[in-house]
Symmetry: C2
Subunit: 258 residues, 2 copies
């Protein structure tokens, strides 16, 4: 055995190449607006691979989303953080964030244009297998990826993490072509039972392939460590829900990226 | 490489032993009642391993549950199908099944005794690591494993597949010591929104570690191929929900059996 083992290890080493994370700020356009996204991929992976769009929270594109993109790159995907608000528009506080988020949540047509521009940018990357593309989003970004699906975009799946589920045009559910995974905090005070019921009805009426996971004990922002740990504030980090929802996303990807 | 490859294959072969499924009908007691369960494990697995109790649907212990136990054995667990109704009590049709299921659903104290007897039988098996035990159940069995948790039983987790969630004594949620995973058909007509809301409140009030997954397009019995495929009957097989709920169970086990 002593003579075999090093040989075995050498062979095992030969089939895996050390990860080489590449990240890049990327300017792109939607109409006349200049947007500034963030690309991450593992340069040691050969050939086209699935692509994942990441859509930011109401504070805009921050280190949080960039870190998620890097985690996705570590899983072997090409990840691209969309910029919905536009280059240089990075809210400094929740007040500015509210203004920006409300602008897009009250103009779903514009929101759809912005997120589709990000999707196009991702799909135009030569490293991406265009037949295996998904989008994930957090809070405002969760709402946004659901809107992406409602726009009829051509992709395989979307995952919303504590995103708002409401829709001013529930009939648009019929446009959804992709699979849908919703990760929801069971104690999220910003999502009323009526919103959940309306969302489920939208999916049901449109015969969407959907799954909704309720994480007990989790409120809004449960994947965001910066949200603190006080559930009474309505938004707080929840480690089990973060870990389990990420695992659920990976399982979902394994299904849609076969 | 030609000389190395056979060596590599021989080495790879040396670390895995062919599975050897052992199954066995097991008589055990609850009070004066004789029960007849079904044990399944892989004899090629060495040493104590996690144990999983499987609780049957309203038709009693059938080949369906035995097959699930064999699948669990294939995953490396010791699986034991409990017999809630008693030896020889195997409903021939839904009418007889209704009588039996109603007997136990209307006497939760007796139901808890019966399922705990099954859990004890599993834990007394020398192959089982008593610190890593779970219970799963289908329909009536889903309700039963939730009652097992509500009884304060000492185990790591329960998984209900399309089980009834109602409780005549919601305060008993406070007895729950284990983690809870509920796999639910989003279109299950036998589970009303009020039942779901009451269950969630029970978990919430008792600070249970719980997750509930709603599978879109799935009605009651979604894991049961014999249920056919006509959703309008209220019970039907749903292949994606079956596959995904089984995968969710495996992920749940990976978490609780660390």
């Amino acid at each position: 055995m002593k003579t075999i083992l090093p040989l075995f290890l050498a062979l095992a080493g030969a089939v895996s190449v050390p990860a080489k994370l590449v990240t890049q700020t990327v300017e792109y356009k939607q109409g006349d607006a200049t947007l500034e996204g963030y690309l991450a991929y593992d340069d040691s992976v050969a050939g086209p691979r699935p692509g994942v769009l990441v859509v930011h929270q109401w504070l805009g594109l921050t280190d949080y989303e960039k870190h998620r993109a890097e985690q996705l790159a570590g899983l072997g995907y090409v990840a691209f953080c969309a910029d919905i608000y536009g280059k240089g528009i990075r809210p400094k506080d929740t007040s500015e964030a509210g203004v920006q988020a409300t602008k897009y949540k009250s103009d779903r047509a514009l929101l759809r244009l912005r997120v589709n521009a990000g999707l196009d940018e991702l799909k135009n990357n030569a490293l991406v297998d265009k037949t295996r593309v998904a989008a994930i989003g957090y809070c405002f970004g969760g709402t946004t990826v659901i809107e992406l699906a409602r726009s009829g975009a051509d992709l395989q799946g979307i995952v919303s993490f504590h995103g708002g589920l409401d829709s001013p045009t529930p009939a648009d559910g019929k446009n959804i072509k992709c699979k849908v995974l919703i990760c929801h905090g069971a104690d999220d005070p910003f999502e009323k039972p009526a919103d959940l019921a309306a969302f489920e009805d939208e999916m049901r009426q449109a015969h969407v392939d959907w799954v909704l996971i309720k994480f007990g004990g989790a409120v809004h922002s449960f994947t965001q460590p910066l949200a603190g740990n006080d559930n009474s504030k309505g938004a707080a980090y929840n480690e089990p829900a973060d870990r389990r929802s990420w695992a659920a996303m990976k399982m979902f990807f394994a299904g849609i990226f076969q």
